[in-house]
Amino acid sequence: MYYMGLVGEYLKNYAKTRLTYRADFWIEVLSDLLFQATNLIFIFVVFMHTPTLAGWTRDEMVFVYGYFMIPYGLFICFFNLWGFSERYIVKGEMDRILTRPAYNLFQILLENVDPPAVIGSFIGTVMMGICWVRLGLPFGLLEVGVLLVMIVGSVMIYFGIYIALTSISFYSDAPTGILPLVYNIQSYGRYPMTIYNRFIQVLLTWILPFAFVGIIPASYFITGKGMKQLALYTPLVGIVAFAIGLTLWNIGIKKYRGAGS
């Protein structure tokens, strides 16, 4: 209950600061969407020249991309800690966080919420919906339920991977460059796994499980992709990633000595 109250307070605060610069808010939304649009344009342009990509049609690929956008938007909104090292370690803001009673990671996440990102999730949902109809896929309560579980699983995977990597900054305050690196690997998860070689397939499925934030869970809903079984592992992989991320964070935070002045 105490934590729910905090969420409310932080969001109120966020709204107040953002409403001062209304134009910036919409510019941010628009430019985020433009970035997503490039990937979508790539898919559309490519399918003007080929009927299928590794057995996937255009509508199926857009379906996958739509799915990909949903957990991604939620992750960016609630769990993204892109500038953590710079702001909390180098500038020492972590000191302020640690003197307060609420759980440290919870406070940091709340300070960095980015609600405009959710608009990407909405657009992803719409894209998925349109393709759902065009592909004539079955749709019922079961599908909605499974979809929600998959999305939660995928968001947990993002959370786990990025929180684990962010905890590295407790050991080294120099930028390691590993975060942007992994960020770029994530785009591999939007395409059918069969187009990659064995090494990348294993990497994306079991080590940095980005296949579970896009292609695998999305293919649960598309018939004939042979990944229905694997897709059901999404929530499990999510829980494992989440647990690893949170554990590494809690170990790392004990190492925090404060570098700021």
Binding site: Y21, S31, Y196
Partner: protein, 264 residues
Amino acid sequence: MMSTYVELIRMRFLTMLAYRVNYYSGILIYTLNIGVYYFTWQAIYGGQGTLAGFTADQMTTYIAVSWMARAFYFNNLDREIAGEIRDGSVAIQFIRPYNYIVVKMMQGLGEGCFRLLLFMTPGLVIACLLFPVKLPHDPKLWATFAWMLFMSFLINSQINIITGLSAFFIENNEGMMRMKRVVVDLFSGVIVPISFFPGWLKGLNEWLPFQAITYLPSSVFTGRVPNGDILGVMAVQVVWLVILTLPIIVLWRSARHRLFVQGG
């Protein structure tokens, strides 16, 4: 006067060198980007011979060369300029005995030298080792490519300077800078070669400067432009270089009357 500008190139180069570690991961990121497009294109080609005038092999080379060219010509001059306008330090630049725009261009060139030697070159070597990239053997083609790449750098920097200077007129040009980035990546041909675009978009692109940044040099380098047409392609770049100089002069002239420092 010239020595001042050369010194600026050297200083920026040395500054970049001090932060070279930050760019090592950049090489890997670009390789990863090449990778995802390489695998995707391989799957797209499947058994098909040519798509939009590209064979699968040419496409691999095109992607690798284009991304690594981007590693060279990319810079944040727009952000630097906008930042200096916003915090007011541009006022000092007005009274210094040099041309601010040329200074920015030279700093960009210093960064470009660094990127060429420590980012693009090792990156291209790694890309060649990992992917079946076929670079041409003709030294004349290499020389042409080097020149065209230099022109890409100039044109891209001009576009960045124009975007940066817009901060004089729009108080917060963050959105413009981000949109510029997307537009440049999309229409320069890094993400999809322009010949893949539908007809109307292809036609539009012929009237835009962006193709001169990546699509033209990479097309020449992958051997897709017949020998007789190379001079014409090079001329397109020169034309854009000249045309883009005009808005810079106009913006800079009118900016002097508009300077409005926000805080600082």
